[in-house]
Amino acid sequence: MSLLRKDPIVGRWTIIATERARRPAAFVDPQSTGTDQKLCPYCQDLTSAGIYEFHGVKVSNSINPILDDSKPFERRGHGLYDVCHSYGSHEIVMETPEHIANMADLPEEQIKAVLQTYALRMRIHRQNPFIEYILAYKNYGVAAGSRNIGHSRSQIMAVPVLPMRVKDKTRGAGQYYDFHERCLFCDMVRQEIKNKERVVVENEHFVVITPFASRFPFETWILPKNHHCDFADGVTGYEEPLAAIMKDILLRFKIGLNDPAYNYMIQTSPVQNPSSFKDKYHWHIEVMPRLTRVAGFERGTGFYICPIPPEMSAAFLREVDIHART
């Protein structure tokens, strides 16, 4: 019999297949990432100035921005509907001057510089009073929604509304805090470290787990052990151990799952009214390989069917030898 598990943050249920669980090896899915450096727009563009440069990391405005802050922000109504123009900013973070596709292959110092860049850009965007949320994220591989360019990059979006998932997460964590007067994520970190079976790897400051109610096979979360609601402020001073653990988990994906497409998103607290999130929210990073497709049931219900228990995903990732090929 399968199990139904509830995500304690947003209250979403997941069906975890048990008897019919697929073996971890069934998900190993090679993708082609080799591309011609001569065709790489990022390598061709090395000389042009970005809006910000830091230790080989270059930030530039997206050439296809879907957000734009050149006009003043204004909300209006259309009958019962609400609309505003797409205010905000959309930046591309070129993570290295070298033509390297996967962040897993960057040196730790370079990943550290990328994380510092995220924090710096977030600090700048949050000074804009119309910005409600800033998301730093990566699409790696075609199945994760990236174009197959072969040059490691990520994106930062600053938006003038609170996205649905952010509202869900902050509301759920807030309700838990109101009931227990403790941070839900701090409780989760304690329980996972004590319980061990869903821990993939940890260092002094961070732990990587496969969440109890995982939506996807090998879904992992990087949780800081120290409480802080905001990524930009919370990561300061901890960029090195975070870079080390990010490289570690991305290498486990690359070696164990044969270089799969993946996404990561930095989940941080909303920009406005920071004091209301200070005790209740806890920044973290969701990292997920894209190995399965979302079908009608998931779309229609928000209910996910995870074909492998997270304990099995964690055990598989724990056993990957990341030093074998590096």
Binding site: V10, M164, E286, F297
Partner: protein
């Protein structure tokens, strides 16, 4: 200029990428023509390959699990939830867990392997809707269940693993999250304005006209103002109706007609794309909600969702709903 739009039911914002809009020809094409007939367990004559049928539309006097059926419902051979046993709830520290009690059935919509829903005659299409209705009512009577979802995955990129035309029905021991969000949002709207938000949407869609795809005497099909996907289309009863189970015979005929009509238009405009649709209705035991209105959401699978959308729930849609509606209307 791109626009941010807010869904009036659940409050979800989305972005219309108006600077890089896509028309039907800009989406990659897929070949969803059926091919593998010789091994199909859903074809007539291979009824023994599926679990025993639980319901069917078949001529009077013909035996269960024999050929001759029009629509046939069988338990899923690989169910995600099991219908044997009782619900047991557990707490594990901060986490909650239950055993996987539920039901998971497959409705085979037509005996002919070569036909899809768009090729059925109007009687055959009516038989599909009547089977939806009868399975829905049957599963709603099980006191262990709180919600029944009917959904269809067509084409491999929409998650279909068997190409013979079929839909699925899953009964759940809780109300799923997206439905709870709609219930919460529509209740909030009802408290504030004393009206059903869906009825108000229908009224506004008639006023604006530009997002209407097609209508008949019972139903309206339109592209929602703040969609999550390009060419997303909803079918909704024109009169207030919270509960799918209470639909009468004439409404079933109207639903069969408009659903097939919309699917034909999608097939024609977008070149037989993969798609999903699913039914959203009131939870079991809440048939007479003044705030809620059942409907079907149809989503052609044209784009991949990227990290940004997963991380935020903020969808980026490359086609204005009025353009989607115009293409479909004119097909």
């Amino acid at each position: 200029m791109p626009e941010l739009r807010r869904d009036p039911i659940v409050g979800r914002w989305m972005i219309i990428d108006s600077d890089h809009t896509k028309s039907p020809l800009d989406f990659p094409k897929e070949d969803n023509t059926p091919t593998r007939q010789e091994i199909c367990p859903f074809c007539p004559g291979r009824e023994y390959q599926t679990p025993h049928e639980v319901d069917a539309v078949r001529p009077a006097g013909s035996l269960p699990d024999s050929s001759g059926w029009l629509v046939r419902t069988v338990p899923n051979k690989f169910p995600v939830l099991s219908s044997d046993g009782f619900l047991q709830k557990d707490g594990i520290g901060i986490y909650d867990q239950m055993n996987g009690i539920g039901a998971h059935e497959v409705m085979i919509e037509c005996p002919d392997h070569e036909k899809g829903l768009t090729e059925l005659t109007s009687e055959e299409m009516r038989a599909v809707i009547s089977q939806y209705h009868s399975r829905f009512k049957q599963l709603s009577d099980d006191s262990r269940f709180k919600y029944v979802v009917i959904f269809k995955n067509f084409g491999s990129s929409a998650g279909a693993t068997v190409e013979h035309t079929h839909s699925q029905i899953i009964a759940l021991p809780m109300v799923p999250k997206t439905v709870l969000e709609e219930l919460k949002g529509s209740e909030h709207y009802h408290q504030y304005r004393g009206r059903c938000v869906f009825c108000d949407m229908i009224a506004q869609e008639y006023q604006d006209k530009e997002r209407i795809v097609v209508e008949n005497s019972g139903f309206l099909a339109f592209c929602p103002y703040a969609p999550r996907y390009a060419f997303e289309t909803w079918i909704i009863p024109k009169g207030h109706a919270g509960d799918f189970a209470q639909m009468g015979d004439s409404s079933q005929a109207h639903l069969a007609q408009i659903l097939q009509d919309v699917l034909k238009k999608i097939k024609k405009v977008l070149g037989n794309p993969s798609y999903n649709y699913y039914l959203h209705t009131a939870p079991i035991g809440y048939a007479d909600l003044a705030c809620y209105h059942w409907h079907i959401e149809i989503i052609p699978k044209l784009t991949r969702s990227v990290g940004f959308e997963w991380g935020t729930g903020l969808h980026i849609v490359p086609t204005f709903p009025q353009d989607s509606a115009r293409y479909l209307r004119e097909a």
